[in-house]
Subunit: 313 residues, 2 copies
């Protein structure tokens, strides 16, 4: 298995990405090879003095970088030698099995649309994210911001993809899928939520457990996967970030707060793309990069893409 | 000034509502009279043994109660002698200046629509709610769940009403109004948010400070009022409830968490109705009821209704 890492992506790249790759190596079995995509000269410099040698990695030279502030579509088109563009070319040609990047999110999404595309039958891909649920578990939330206006048929597909993820990556037998709504009754919510409920309620594609309200997050275990449009999902994610920020500002000492720290999850899987892609936070440190790599490995290992392909008719 | 209180509304009524009224009395100046609406016999029983006498209150007998689980519209029509129905009749006939109830929220909304109506020109009324912002301040968020599908012109009116509230009740000179969105740029968000930004950006009705993201809540002070549709607002409120619940479950000791406790704010003002109406949480205890009454008094004292009337052209 080969996992591509965008060495140049993220606010603290390439130092943090390289450090994250080294940390990931310690946890990965030898059959997993990391493919670092970036400026080989800078990489060689970083190797000096580290307990690492270039033989542990594969390298692919990228002469260019898409910066965080650049216009995604324009930069992607103008910079075919950027680490992001090359990552997608490597994916498409089968030279890597998964690609992870903490770089310009917009450019990564452009890469998905123009280079590898979405799976046949997928109306819209989604960004999935993780929220803590009790002491040990997680809730998979999607879409976390890719499609601010999602129609019921799109939300239905999110549920299928989320269910496949929870089954194949988490190993759950019969994942419970909730529809984010503002009341427990079928008649509650906005037009989209009500129509989506109608679509989901007697389905045989996944285990629908009904409406899920936002006050159930963090402590409740009624749903493993919660689906909503990208506007609402992004609001939920950012409010959880606000809470984590607050805990830092006030030096809250309870270890539960660390469960809100994105670094533990590393990256957000893109579901519905033709290949495994995981997006990291721009401010990713080495730990976040390491976990993003492990996340990517887990998705490849679970054969997630083929399983989603089969589930989407 | 006369403040009507639905003595029978709420899960712990009439004991908690009565206790809350007693607590409010201690903080209210003598020119504010409380009008308790409910079963006088039960009230007399509660008076026994308390350091209170019936002369401190006005009473209006209500023979009936709309229960929490009843169908709002049907119950409101079928029970003209319920405490909620009588509350609205008293408002309309000028016998009370404001009405607060922790009873069946749906029935209260029906009362607004059928008995007192909204102000001329108001497309939709909104429920406003409060979120902590730093150590001392609050953010006024609306709509918190009344209109899950709100169009840009409705959101624009929310901004006007929120601005008037922050000016007249909080005494702010030039309240800053943010549009809840999932990015800071004008082009971000769903269709509704983008069109609303367009409407708001050069307005002269209120001080628009642009998009406001959910990760700015709790610690940031960039906006005094944040507007969004009732679906998103309800999700934000319930996620904040989830944090508070988590803090209780884990015995977090930081006093900041108490700022998430709805009991401190007591009630949610309805903005856009023709009279001052404040809705309390069903699980309100005496403290919450007291604060709901004080909230109602503040809105009457600020002459909020006339100020909103003037601001809506």
């Amino acid at each position: 298995m080969k996992i591509g890492l965008d060495l140049m992506g993220g606010d603290f790249a390439p130092e943090a990405t390289f450090e994250g790759a080294l940390q990931a190596l310690k946890e990965l079995p030898s059959e997993v090879r990391l493919v670092l995509i970036g400026d080989e000269k800078r990489l060689q410099k970083m190797l000096t003095g580290k307990e690492a040698d270039s033989g542990q990695f594969d390298f692919v030279q990228a002469d260019d970088i898409i910066e965080m502030g650049e216009h995604p579509a324009k930069a992607f088109a103008a910079k075919p030698k950027s680490s992001i563009s090359i990552g997608f070319q490597l994916l498409k040609s089968g030279k890597i099995d998964g690609f992870s990047s903490a770089g310009n999110t917009g450019a990564i999404l452009v890469g998905i649309h123009y280079t590898i595309r979405t799976l046949n039958g997928i109306i819209r891909p989604a960004i999935a994210t993780f929220l803590p649920a009790g002491e040990k578990d997680l809730t998979l939330l999607l879409d976390a911001g890719l499609n601010p206006d999602s129609k019921p048929d799109v939300l239905y597909q999110y549920a299928i993809m989320g269910s496949v993820y929870a089954k194949s990556v988490w190993g759950l037998d019969n994942p419970r899928i909730g529809l984010l709504n503002i009341g427990s009754e079928e008649s509650k919510g906005n037009l989209i939520a009500r129509s989506t409920y109608e679509l989901m309620k007697d389905n045989t594609d996944f285990n629908f457990v009904g409406n899920f309200e936002a006050n159930e997050f963090f402590s409740n275990k009624r749903a493993d996967v919660v689906v909503c449009d990208g506007f609402v999902g992004n609001v939920i994610l950012k409010e959880a970030e606000a809470f984590y920020k607050l805990s830092k500002q006030r030096n809250f000492t309870d270890p539960y707060f660390e469960r809100f720290n994105f670094e533990n999850y590393g990256g957000s899987p893109i579901l519905g793309a033709s290949y495994v892609v995981v997006i990291g936070h721009g401010i990713s440190n080495a730990k976040a990069i390491k976990n993003m790599i492990l996340q990517t490995r887990n998705m490849v290992e679970a054969d997630l893409i083929n399983k989603i392909k089969k589930a989407i008719k």
